[in-house]
């Protein structure tokens, strides 16, 4: 059985061929979730079955049992989800206050944000939280479409510095100050 035959007997009438193709692609892409669940299941099962439990087994249920159940569950759910998707079932994308689902996903922004976040994570220890945090905020605001090159960095710097002082000095939650705080 292929996805094409699976989606064609769906009773709902499709308004336009372009929309039909896009929705077919969307059906198709959810199979990616099944593949990921399947891979996760295999991973969990492999880990459980290669576990060396002879010494550590205590009681009738060892450390393997639950991972095996979870792993099997993942495989079963991956299969069930695949069947559901092929039958035309579709996961409902989450709506929200600032979400406009009528336009296609903006992958550039998502990748950019992830990259900026990773960059800040790498920088936090060498340059300290105030600088890395400010870069994170400014970068994220830029990625999300803010182009006020005067206001954005100022807000980022103030927010980051205040957060650092409040957490590190007032609340007793240590954050790395970095060389900048060493100078001040």
């Amino acid at each position: 059985m292929t996805t094409r035959t699976g989606s064609s007997p769906a009773p709902d009438p499709t308004p336009a061929p372009a929309a039909e193709r896009r929705s077919w692609l969307r059906d198709h892409s959810e199979l990616g979730v099944c593949v990921l669940l399947l891979a996760l299941g295999v991973l969990v099962l492999t880990d459980a079955l290669t576990m060396d439990v002879d010494i550590t087994q205590r009681g009738p249920v060892g450390p393997r049992t639950v991972p095996i159940v979870v792993g099997m569950g993942l495989l079963v759910i991956a299969a069930l989800l695949a069947v559901d998707v092929l039958r035309g079932g579709r996961g409902e994308a989450e709506g929200g206050e600032d979400i406009d689902l009528s336009e296609p996903a903006d992958w550039r922004t998502v990748l950019l944000l992830s990259g900026i976040f990773l960059g800040a994570a790498v920088l936090i220890e060498p340059v300290g939280f105030p600088v890395a945090g400010a870069l994170l905020f400014w970068g994220a605001a830029f990625a999300l479409g803010s182009r006020r090159s005067d206001r954005d960095p100022l807000i980022a710097a103030v927010l980051s510095l205040i957060t650092y002082i409040v957490f590190d000095k007032l609340l007793g939650v240590p954050l790395p100050g970095g060389p900048l705080m060493g100078v001040l």
Binding site: A10, E30, V33, L40, V44, A48, V53, T56, R58, G59, P60, V61, G62, P63, P67, V70, G73, L74, I77, A78, L81, D84, G88, G89, R90, G91, E92, A93, E94, G95, G96, E97, D98, I99, D100, E103, A105, D106, W107, T109, V110, L113, S114, F117, A120, A121, I124, F129, L136, F137, A143, L144, G145, S146, S160, T163, F167, L171, V173, L175
Partner: protein, 499 residues
Amino acid sequence: MNALNSLMDGFGTALTPLNLLWAALGVLLGTAIGVLPGIGPAMAVALLLPVTYGLDPVAAFIMFAGIYYGAMFGGSTTSILLNTPGESAAVVAAMEGNPMAKSGRGAQALAAAAIGHFAGGMIGTILLVALAPTVADLAVDIGAPDYFAIMVLAFIAVTSVLGSSRIRGLASLLIGLTIGLVGLDQMTGQQRLTFGSLQLADGVDVVIVAVGLFAIGEALWVAAHLRRAAAEPIPVGLPWLGRADVKRTWKSWLRGPFIGFPFGAIPAGGAEIPTFLSYVTEKRLSKNKDEWGKGAIEGVAGPESAASASAAGTLVSMLTLGLPTTAVAAVMLAAFQQYGIQPGPLLFEREPELVWGLIASLFVGMVLLLALNLPLAPVWAKLLRIPRPYLYAGIMFFAAVGAYAVGGEVVDLVILLIIGLVGFGMRRYGLPILPAVIGVILGPNAEQQLRRALQISDGSVTGLVNTPFAVTVYAVIVLLLAWPLLKRLVIRGRPRADA
């Protein structure tokens, strides 16, 4: 009355100047963050977790109580003035509240919501005081098989009561259980899913999972679909109610809690169902049926009161059984675990100062909520105009602070981003978030109880069903599982409605 004495002691704890300050700060922070569009109570609590790391547990939970109630109230303000609720419990508030705001009665809608929250929270907390010690006493005797049964019930309830697809709910639960498996096995010290990494041997911190799924996942998801022109909030003045409005709404305020409280206490999705039930009830009982849909004030008052009371109900199961029934309770449970405190029947005996201080501060928080939020409503309304790039950049920023504060390790930030990407994918494909969080938090605990029960029975499966309590719980589970099948038999033949 023992409970009353303990409560008086609790007030002694809650009313110290410093703790009052924490409660007020919690209410203000919770409301401010709850008002911000796109941030629900669960994300608010998760993002504010690190603020409490440096505090002692009593102060931390007093602050949490304020954040919880504040965030719920903030969410309904957003619903009323923006009409695009991001959070399911606030959907009902928009149904009558937004038409009211549009027709220039926004001040009355906000007042009805604020007083509704106050009434619901008060009645709910009184019920909590009356019931929680009793439940805790009863629960002291329950053993491993009973706990395991309750947790299975929680798993089944979050996957099958909520959301439109059980398969997707189960997939989410299994993802959560898998994350919960990472680390050392609690009973034998066996490494599981660590791939030899030392960092993973400690397991993935629940706070990182919660912040990743709720905050980073949401920020990335919004980034992919950001509305070009943000919805315009309706300006509003100081909330107030006329005599006629009070006459119409006081019964609704009092009815709401009795719908909300029981639903909060059971794992049925928190405030979503009771707010809707309250809405339907108020509509049926209303004398002004023609106003419904165009801004009936009872439709704001009743559901808001029910929502607030359901939060109190949630605390009953969370404090007495260690069973989180909502996302917020799940995050709060994570916070308890952070302090090495295990909520459950023994909590009332072991940590009386903490529990009763927390409960007393709920009353205090409620009064503060009303006293602060009525005059501050116009300020909160201004928060709705925050430029969206700043809002979501701020969420990413504070998520990073929270994850880093957990252990001061960069690898936590990387794990946070990965879990955030998982949360993004889950939102894209309609996998609900709550089952995953419940899976991470309850999974390891459920496994322990299961193994303990089977150890006692020497491996015999009957050891799981040898108490009347466990049997009752399993009967409820079977009923929950069978219910949609029965319903499907009735409506079979109709064409399937796709999303």
